[in-house]
């Protein structure tokens, strides 16, 4: 192996290391960034809320009403989602308060976040009323 080859290999390793390091740094940065976490929670809240409605209806339609009693795995998964929705609502709401306090994002983005937090709270209220958030 020539010196040129060794040098080239070291350079590739360095780039790979830099990429990995950059990725880890990016992830760390995002996970410690309150604005990013607040936005991620609201995206998760929206997605999982819709996912819950779709999955619950799908299991009922395909498996029949008896799935409410026998609770096969897909129904168990569906019935676990309301608790996740409740957690994401809390995080979204906390992120919204921080957004107004520390002036994250633009004004329309903050209003949007507030609307999502309010929708999340209303959704959780009715999930609780319907017994999906029973402990």
């Amino acid at each position: 192996m020539t010196d040129q080859h060794i040098s080239q290999q070291r350079t590739e390793q360095q780039h790979e290391y830099d990429d990995r390091s950059g990725f880890i740094h990016g992830v760390k940065h995002r996970l410690t960034s309150a604005p990013w976490l607040a936005r991620a929670a609201s995206v998760g809240l929206s997605s999982i809320s819709i996912g819950f409605v779709v999955l619950f209806m799908f299991v009922l339609e395909t498996g029949g009403d008896v799935t409410l009693f026998t609770q096969p795995l897909p129904m168990q998964l569906a019935l676990a989602l309301p608790h996740l929705i409740a957690v994401l609502t809390l995080v979204t709401t906390a992120g919204d308060l921080l957004a107004w306090w520390y002036r994250y994002w633009s004004l329309p983005a903050r209003i949007h976040q507030t609307a999502l937090a309010l929708l999340g709270l209303a959704f959780c209220w009715q999930l609780s009323t319907l017994g999906f958030l029973a402990v």
Binding site: F69, T70, G131
Partner: protein, 566 residues
């Protein structure tokens, strides 16, 4: 062999079936919601067992059979693939006959004396009959704290209220247990538990003082069966086999699950609708066995009805004294004098003065109805191997009407008392049933079953349900409204201008209570719809915004590359 799994479609009939199924599991049989599918004639390829007609309404057995044949022909193949019927007149079965097929895959005809149907909650009548045997023997008492019988057991009813739960409360569904709807349904028979373990692990909360309001409870019925077993130091299944089935010659009847292979007869397959036909489905098993795991033939159920109509005896065999039967058939809980009330284990049927008593039954894909007319010594039992929107009670209704076992409906006379419009406005609102769950995911059933009451013209009331079932009612006595052209009655109990409860004649398994504003259908539906729409729009907005940003970045990079190349 595994059967094709059930599937449902989203048409309105199936939605109605869903609600009737779910509510029916709680009450195990309520008024069917929805309409029957189109009717065609159907051949009845089963055998009949006729006997000589007795006295009373059924003076001509051939006429009765022809009538029932016609009624069943309208349903077989459309409403249900198979059915079994037993009609007794005094001490004699006047008609026991199977209709249609027991299993669409095997194309086996239903035979009244051989084909076993799962009768669901009609089996509770066996459980409560067993209680009355214990009362007769002095082993049980209807007004003693049930914990007295549970000394050697892990099962204990908590002392949530001052008054204890008694067997009278359990036999009239007034113990005040919260409904869970689920009678412990499992798909795998290996998941069946002992009654003691089940009653301990799945004990619902006591949410009402005992003796106040009816709230149908499968748990209460299962506890009743367990108490019978404890009092006699045996198992529930062994007790009813030895003390009821064997003496009455009910050789094809059992509470055991799955039905033992050596049990006489053949169990019909449960069916689900598949378009215009039926599919055989997997059976399920009920953990709360005394509440609904009975499997029996129509011939066996005829023997059971004959015992009740024959003052506790069939021929020389006696399972209850005449006085005990009379006690069991007398009223034990009055919801309201104008509506159907509770005998011991039986609820009243139809017109309050007709003295008709019965019970409905359902498992997931079997349905049944049993009616006794003690005054005319008539007993009627009908079972389906399916769970359609129009339940077997419809057959019983037609027989009762044809043979005038109760007074024909009359046009209600409006009350002459002034203030009808004010009273109609007082009772207007949304109501929910006590026998539906108040917690857990099945609470959604309660929402779907709400009854809306609105004032109509001339002091009348209009009631509607979510599936569009609308009825008009005329006020006969203050706060008591009668159905136009039927036996339906709404009886409100009002204190200081507020409705406490609404008793409905057709819903003996519970009473309606006013729903708070925030739990009304419109509020819940509106909030859920708005939230899901908002989430959907947000996701669409984020997706669109992200795509727009990427497109702009792509265009900017593209322009930059072009400038570099120039």
């Amino acid at each position: 062999m595994p059967r094709p799994r059930l599937s449902t479609t989203d048409d309105s009939t199936d939605s109605a079936t869903r609600r009737s199924f779910l509510a029916g599991l709680g009450s195990l049989g309520t008024v069917a919601i929805g309409t029957a599918v189109g009717r065609t004639s159907a051949a009845t390829d089963s055998q009949s067992t006729d006997s000589q007609p007795g006295e009373g309404p059924f003076t001509n057995a051939d006429e009765l059979e022809a009538f029932v044949d016609d009624v069943m022909a309208e349903r077989i193949g459309t409403t249900t693939p198979g059915a079994t019927v037993a009609i007794v007149n005094g001490d004699a079965p006047i008609l026991t006959k199977g209709y249609g097929t027991a299993d669409v895959d095997a194309d086996v005809p239903v035979r009244a004396d051989e084909t076993v149907f799962r009768v669901g909650s009609v089996g509770k009548l066996v459980t409560y009959t067993a209680v009355m045997q214990g009362v007769e023997q002095g082993v049980l008492d209807l007004d003693t704290d049930v914990n007295t019988y549970l000394d050697d057991s892990r099962v204990t009813v908590p002392d949530t209220y001052d008054d204890p739960v008694t067997l009278r409360h359990l036999g009239t569904h007034t113990a005040g247990f919260e409904s869970t709807l689920d009678p412990g349904i499992v798909a795998d028979p290996d998941a069946l538990d002992s009654l003691e373990a089940l009653l301990t692990a799945q004990q619902p909360s006591r949410i009402r003082p005992p003796g106040e309001l009816v709230g149908y409870s499968n748990y209460g019925a299962a506890l009743t069966g367990y108490i019978v077993a404890e009092a006699h130091d045996t198992t529930f299944e062994e007790y009813v086999q030895a003390e009821i089935f064997d003496p009455l010659g009910m050789t094809h009847s059992t509470f055991a699950q799955p039905v033992p292979a050596d049990q006489p007869g053949d169990l019909a397959a449960p069916h689900v609708r598949d378009g215009n036909s039926f599919l055989a489905a997997d059976d399920v098993y009920l953990n709360m066995r005394p509440a609904g795991s009975l499997s029996a033939t129509a011939t066996d159920m005829a023997a059971f009805m004959r015992a009740h109509l024959g003052d506790g005896a069939v021929g020389e065999t006696r399972i209850l004294d005449a006085e005990t039967v009379e006690t069991m058939h007398s009223r034990h809980h009055v919801r309201h004098p104008a509506v159907t009330n509770w005998r011991y284990g039986f609820h009243e049927y139809g017109h309050p003065d007709a003295n008709l008593i019965g019970h409905s039954g359902a498992t997931v894909n079997f349905t049944s109805y049993l009616l006794l007319a003690p005054d005319s010594d008539i007993g009627i039992f009908v079972a389906y191997n399916s769970n359609p929107s129009e339940l077997p009670k419809a057959i019983v209704d037609e027989i009762v009407a044809e043979y005038e076992l109760q007074p024909a409906p009359t046009t209600p006379t409006p009350t002459s008392r002034p203030g009808g419009q004010e009273r109609a406005e007082t009772v207007a609102g949304e109501y929910s049933l006590t026998h539906l769950p108040q917690s857990g995911p099945l609470q959604v059933v309660d929402l779907l079953e709400h009854l809306t009451v609105e004032p109509a013209a001339n002091g009348r009331l209009r009631t509607t349900t979510l599936d569009g079932d609308a009825q008009q009612w005329v006020e006969g006595d203050p706060y008591v409204y009668e159905e136009i052209g039927g036996h339906g009655v709404l009886a409100f109990e009002v204190t200081d201008g507020d409705v406490d409860v609404l008793n409905m004649n057709r819903e003996p398994t519970g009473v309606y209570q006013p729903v708070p504003f925030h739990e009304r259908q419109l509020v819940t539906g509106g909030v859920l719809g708005t939230a899901v729409s908002g989430f959907g729009l947000s996701l669409a907005g984020w997706g669109g915004h992200s795509a727009w940003q990427q497109w702009k970045q792509y265009r900017a990079t593209d322009d930059s590359d072009m400038e570099d190349s120039e």
